[in-house]
């Protein structure tokens, strides 16, 4: 039997995790030796196996069944790479606790190209949403591969923006790659299969469990050269990713926020501890060195800036005085109608018309019952 099948067999044993497989390999020597292990060897106390684990190893050794299951999996478009496989991502191989095997749907990231992880809070603010999309889109256009966890909030938004920009992005899941979790990101999941990839160390069919997510964070940071944190509360999962990135020797960048925003406290703390500061997507690209960059994003942004100025000039000419006043009190935090009334001095009867006009001109956006600035006038 081929080596990959032994690895596949081992990684499909529920209850036998990554660490146990590593211990077994160290004890037995090769994967084939694990397959051929005797019950007496399994009893060795240094392995620390429980009786159910031993039984599982001994009873599941059915060559034809393993082969059949492997082929069935390949048919569903999922591939499996064990740690010694030539296509196994090299960045992942040399961390403290590399996955013994990974399941992949889609195309693995190019090991030669720059990869940046974008992570952040699931329950994020409008500011976080906007910045995540902006940064992901700019990086993707510059040819950077975006790594993230396809979670709610920042992760999903960043990956969707990268896909929209035509870039490559890889989602590392905390469940089997055949499962879309969270379900609301189904759209992103489908797009990742065709124009990116999904990676998981859990075999197909493993449901999402809370304990698996911190573990998958180590794969996110390992696959990237740089980890950026967009929004994080104090003591959040994104900070675990940042910690692991530092352990793995990756650079960490954080997006600063206001000190009174709970969602920026984790990021600000990272900066305090020495993380890089993200001032803008362009700034980040320059900071990490133009050598990696495929196109010249600087020129690109210059033309865009000029376009933006042109647009804002033409738009502001068309704005009424009320609209200009209203626009002057808006910013990137969502504001309620009452706040805008007090700020601009418009009364409740007049303000809705102005808000609608500004929305139609694309200068502001309605978020529920609040409004946020979308473009700098």
């Amino acid at each position: 039997m081929e080596e990959i099948l032994y690895a596949y067999w081992l990684s499909n044993l529920d209850g036998i995790g990554n660490k146990t497989v590593r211990t077994l390999r160290e004890y037995a020597g090769s994967l084939e030796d694990i397959w051929n292990i005797t019950p007496k060897e399994l009893d060795d106390a240094s392995l620390g196996l429980t009786q159910p684990m031993k039984n599982l190893i001994l009873t599941s050794r059915d060559e034809s069944a393993v082969k059949r299951s492997f082929e069935d999996m390949l048919k569903t478009g999922i591939s499996f790479y064990h740690i010694d496989h030539p296509e196994y991502p090299p960045k992942l191989k040399y961390i403290y606790d590399p996955p013994q095997g990974i399941y992949v749907k889609g195309r693995l990231p190019d090991p030669g190209a720059l990869s940046i992880a974008i992570v952040g809070a699931r329950n994020c603010s409008e500011y976080g949403k906007m910045m995540a999309a902006k940064i992901a889109s700019a990086l993707a256009r510059a040819g950077v591969q975006i790594i993230s966890g396809m979670a709610r909030g920042i992760d999903g938004i960043a990956q969707e923006a990268a896909l929209d920009a035509g870039g490559y992005t890889c989602g590392v899941l905390g469940c089997g790659v055949d499962i879309c979790y969270p379900e609301e990101n189904r759209r992103i999941y489908d797009r990742l299969i065709t124009s990116g990839c999904l990676i998981s160390e859990y075999h197909p069919g493993v449901p999402a469990k809370s304990g698996q997510f911190p573990l998958r964070n180590r794969i996110i940071s390992a696959l990237s050269d740089i980890v950026t944190v967009i929004e994080a509360r104090e003591r959040s999962g994104s900070l675990i990713t940042a910690d692991q990135a530092l352990e793995q020797g990756r650079d960490v960048y954080a997006l600063p926020g206001r000190v009174c925003d709970a969602l920026s406290q984790g990021c600000n703390r990272l900066i305090r501890q020495g993380a890089g500061i993200i001032l803008s997507p362009d700034d980040l690209l320059k900071e990490i060195g133009a050598g990696f960059i495929r196109d010249d994003p600087y020129e690109d942004t210059q033309t865009k800036k000029a376009e933006a100025v042109q647009l804002s000039l033409s738009a502001s000419c068309l704005l009424s005085d009320d609209e200009k006043r209203l626009l002057s009190v808006m910013d990137y935090t969502p504001k309620s109608v009452d706040e805008l009334c007090t700020g601009s001095g418009l009364d409740t009867a007049r303000i809705y018309g102005c808000l609608m006009q500004l929305s139609l001109k694309g200068l502001i956006a309605q978020k529920g019952s609040r409004y946020i600035l979308t473009k700098q006038p």
């Binding site: 009452d338 006009q357 139609l360 019952s369």
Partner: protein
Amino acid sequence: MFCYVNTGAVTGLKCDLIRVEVDSSPGLPCFQMVGYLGSEVKEARERVKVALRNSGFVLPATNLNVNLSPANIRKSGTSYDLPIAVGILAASGMIDPRRLEDMLIIGELGLDGDIRHVRGILPIVKEAVSHGIRKVILPISNVREGALIPDAEVIGASHLSEVREYLSVPADEQDGILRRADHTDITGYLQRSLEEAPDFADVRGQESVKRAAMVAAAGFHHMLMIGPPGSGKTMIARRMPSILPPLTPEEALEISAIYSVSGQLKEDQPLVSFRPYIAPHHTITQQALAGGGVRARPGLISLAHRGVLFLDEMTEFDRSTLEIMRQPLEDKQIRIVRSSGSFSYPADFMLIAACNPCPCGYYPDMNKCRCSPNQIARYINRISGPLLDRIDICCEAESVELCKLKDSDTPSLSSADMRAMIEVARKRQAHRFRDMKIHFNAEMSGRDTDRFCRLGASEQLLISSAVETLGLSARSYHRILKLSRTIADLEDKDDISEAHLSEALFYRTSGTGYWGR
């Protein structure tokens, strides 16, 4: 000897005149009652017997038969005691039966012969007058209620012996025993009540919610307020009746009839003079809200008729209880079928609902709220889509900063200011619907909407693009039009402008941030 007494029965809000027929004939002395009687009415036999004895009358030693006709209507309640007692007196020759023919008698008896308060006087007296029976003898505590009906000659009595004496003396001496009550002055009541209501001026800040409340009141649109605890949602709802137009005498009588049937009219408050404000607790049962029970009574949605039904913490209500309101919200009445018959109660109320945006109550304040998007969606989705679809206005109440509360210099819209603006919109609606059966913009049908809510070219463009980008349904489209009609009416404008449409769109779409639709 045979004689009869007129009285009335209420089923639902419908009234039937009942004849209490009494026959006293020679035979074994006994006292029997028939005519589809409920258990309270069967008990009347004992009460009447004792009350007669204690009032100094001796039951004749004859075969007494009482029939409540028509015998196919179920009789319930205690209001038959007095007519039965009077009937027996007449059948045994102590009262001239001819004097009872053009008269209606109603009341409960105590064992000592006292006449006690009963429910449902208002609709019964109204029914009697419409049948040409104008003279009504009723319990003294019900007099002011009965005297609300114009043309009714209402006579209050407090004891059985008074009634007997009244009916046995010559007509010109009657006034010395029991006097005809003066007609209750409805308009006087209605005017007095306006001054007592809580005022919108007490609500500081929340200008946009107050504006939304004004639009709701002007066009009788339903409204949902979403906001953190303590932002003044209940305060605003409590003040809604103060900006609704004062009750007309007809409306006051209509509402009072419902309250009378459910036994909620008090001796000192015989008329519901203020728009009802009903705020049930969220643990309310389906029956209490919709009405019903073994002896059907109006539910809270009927007690809120022509007034405000305020559902605080709407997400905490039992879902099936809320769903009950779907049909009354469309039909303006509720039909209840029970084994004792089917009843229909009016339920034309303005629904004002309030809820928190999420389980902790602070979303979208990300510094305070730690609820996940799933939790938030689940929370708000406890209110079903079809119900939300019937609510035209959704607005967000924000937590108000302390400085704003203290700053008494900032002008705050008072109820009187708001009423003045609403009056303008009212007049326009009254004129618009003068030949129709509806009164408010919210009641317009699709056809009326097309007729009265014509849009200009730029407005048409605006709403088409909104419908497209927001994916609004045809029903939403019509509701937005009706809402913008009300907003234009508030400003006394004939045409709906882009600003009016924008405001209506805002009210219709501002909730989408919460339930993602």
